[in-house]
Symmetry: C2
Subunit: 132 residues, 2 copies
């Protein structure tokens, strides 16, 4: 009985890129930056990504797209690699980032209002310049 010898499906770089929407070059870049650790290799030396890797890359993208820097992500990964005793700090990191994301939502909600205001202005102008 194997404990968890890597999740069933195993993906080539091209498949991984397809699945995650992240380019092959970026996947390698993340690995160089240690955001993606212990990626399996075929005997040929070619990478074989697991389903767990897919999930993790999705987390990475989620955090990146909301503004977490590569350096912060690396720190978060390194904490994870250091073991369970770093959980409190990882928790704090996520809480901090959570607040940032909420700020972004608030900022964008305000932006929508400003945009709608300007859109309303254009609509009014259009109505005025062709009165009938």
């Amino acid at each position: 009985m194997t404990s968890s010898p890597a999740t069933g499906a195993v993906l080539s770089p091209a498949e991984m890129s397809e699945r995650t929407g992240v380019s092959i070059d970026t996947l390698r870049y993340y690995e160089r930056e240690r955001l993606l650790q212990n990626v399996a290799r075929a005997e040929s030396g070619h990478r074989r990504y697991s389903e767990d890797d897919v999930l993790w890359v999705e987390v990475l993208r989620c955090l990146r797209e909301t503004g977490m820097t590569i350096e912060q992500l690396r720190h978060y990964c390194e904490l994870g690699a250091q073991g369970d005793h770093t959980e409190p700090e990882r928790y704090r990191m996520l809480m901090t980032h959570r607040a940032l994301v909420e700020d972004q939502i608030a900022e964008r909600t305000q932006a929508l209002q400003l945009i709608d205001h300007k859109l309303g202005f254009y609509a009014a102008a259009a109505a005025t310049e062709t009165p009938s």
Copy 2:
């Protein structure tokens, strides 16, 4: 009776930076990139920003912070300078950007869910490792 000979208050670069939260260098950069046009000058050649400039810079920041590029902003400005007949296109630009901002909000709302999920995981782990 003057029609609108520039808004009352007039601000030095330092004051403008203070008011808008945009650095003096960035203000000059925006002007070079033609995002900010017809900035008044004192006889000395020093810039004098109007209240209208303040409002416009606030719009610029709002659009920039939500991901509109400098190039797009320049295009938007150029349309404005070209006269009223470009309003339909400016309207379309804003509508397009509006959709983008809504996507960002949706994306970030999803991100919050993922973050909360992970936060929940850490909370559960903390509860388990110290059962009492």
